[in-house]
Assembly symmetry: C2
Homo-oligomer: 322 residues x 2
């Protein structure tokens, strides 16, 4: 299998290399692409050093089995269509194509069937959305979801490794602010992405639209507030769900969560530091409000579950490995 | 005016001294009480050193104009009734008496009328509740609140200065865990107070019950998730409200917030580090979902607005200063 990673030196790009190794994907040739700044860097894949190449139009015209993109929307908009036009399958982690009605937005455990005989660009959903829908899709199927109230506690790694470096500098006493709009050390910032005229942030709109597209139900009402917290890895979500049908007892919800693929139900409280490096979504603090409402706490590694692992699972599904 | 502070060396006790100074309360004699461990410590009030005394039954039998308690429920349950029995007015920051139907639970801006001609024990509400009801009471009066979905981002100072010390040790590399159940540095913990059998935490139950008692409406549904974050001072709350009557435009909500006493409406995003030391509740990210639902971000200094300042305002109301 010949695989290329575009944006290979970023937080998600590096995690993609690691996940390809961890899942023992039979990659014969791995090519790593990045911007000028990173050309010549050496990254290790299966104990083999690989030199990072410059991303060019020409390189995207070569034949690959799979190209994994994670270099932001602008790069994806420019280079993914070139790669696709030349017969390549692109799994794109940016928001560039997610809401394009001709592009599947895939969480393999939920709507992997969309990948059957598909060629071209596939969109990898937003990190906060992936971990939420993974825990809710069986519940939606059984009881129908009417409303989702979600407040997020999102790790700094979601903004890239420059953001991590900024947080670390702040903790070591340097009050430098560049990536975030305010200090993130010993603070929380209730804005991810740009603020829109309607008062919602871009991240919140992603959660609304992508949840509906992945669960294939535009009647689901999602009410998100997305917040950055000074955590390295692991997004947390405080979620209250209102179902259409009565679920009667919380045991019925618990059972559906336990039956969900790659979701772990826990009676013990799970925090972000507990999940870093894991490929599972962890649910704790599940509780009943009434027969149509329940609340829970949802934690997952944002770089793996929320990006790299989902992208590699799409690759595996397309390749017939899963 | 003769005032006593019980639990004077704690986070809230020290803030009470500071607020008495800041608000220029005409205190002629200030007595500071604490446990054995803190006896002999010197605290400064209006440039005068005051030695901390041992809290005893005998000391509570003296005559005070006001006694401010902030030494936990057990101390309050033991000593506040003795003080009250001897004619003293006690303003108690613990949860000991808050849900006692004979005890007023007061946020002066909202239900200060309860203090008229009152003598005995007055309960100071929970920090997370105070800042939430301060921003919502006018909206409740105008449109009626049906549902409040709230997820909190609560500062470590809410757990006392031992908790602050624990967080600081963790940030300096010592992985000592004693106050919190997990590491709080670079982490968030979705549990405040004990976990109950019904899956709710004690802090969440306080928010439900106290909101109803203060707003004098048991039909209000509060759905809280309370979470500790590695912030020194300043609780944040992500809140979605559903009203009974249509508010039509978000301008109508904004106007009511702007008219609320000690609440500041901001178009700019406000974070905990912006509010430390302030006596106001700050509202930002206000946005309309539909004509009966809106969302906002609510931040206030948990030690001042959420405890010391509210207690001193109760004193001021009782003393006829406000």
């Amino acid at each position: 299998m010949k695989v290329g990673i575009v944006g290979a030196t970023g937080e998600v790009g590096r995690a993609m290399i690691k996940v390809l190794e961890d899942f023992q994907i039979p990659v014969k040739e791995l090519r790593l692409f990045a911007s000028k700044r990173s050309v010549g860097k050496i990254l290790i894949f299966n104990n083999t050093p690989i030199e990072v190449e410059l991303l060019t139009e020409q390189s995207m015209k070569e034949t690959f089995d799979f190209l994994l993109f994670s270099a932001g929307s602008t790069i994806s908009k420019t280079f993914a269509p070139i790669a696709a036009k030349h017969g390549n399958t692109v799994i794109d982690n940016s928001s560039a194509f997610r809401m394009d009605e001709n592009i599947p937005l895939v969480v393999p455990e939920i709507n992997g069937y969309l990948l059957k005989n598909y060629k071209g660009i596939i969109a990898n959903p937003n990190c906060s959305t992936i971990q939420m829908v993974l825990s809710l899709y069986k519940i939606h199927k059984e009881f129908g979801i009417d409303e989702i109230f979600v407040s997020t506690y999102q790790a700094v790694s979601g903004a890239g490794h420059k953001a991590i470096a900024e947080m670390e500098k702040q903790y070591s006493g340097k009050n430098e602010i560049a990536i975030f709009t305010k200090r993130i050390s010993h603070n929380v910032i209730p804005l991810i992405g740009k603020l829109r005229d309607d008062g919602f942030s871009e991240e919140e709109i992603k959660m609304i639209n992508e949840t509906r597209k992945i669960l294939e139900d535009s009647s689901i009402n999602v009410y998100p507030t997305t917040v950055r917290v000074p955590v390295y890895y692991g997004h947390s979500e405080s979620i209250v769900v209102k179902t259409k049908k009565s679920f009667r007892t919380i045991e019925n919800i618990k059972k559906l969560i336990q039956e969900s693929t790659n979701v772990v139900y826990s009676e013990e409280i799970i925090t972000p530091i507990d999940v870093a490096g894991s490929d599972y979504v962890f649910i704790s603090r599940l509780r009943k409000i009434d027969e149509k409402r329940f609340a829970f706490w949802n934690v997952a590694d944002n770089i793996r579950v929320g990006a790299a692992t989902n992208a590699v699972k799409i690759l595996m599904k397309l390749a017939g490995i899963i």
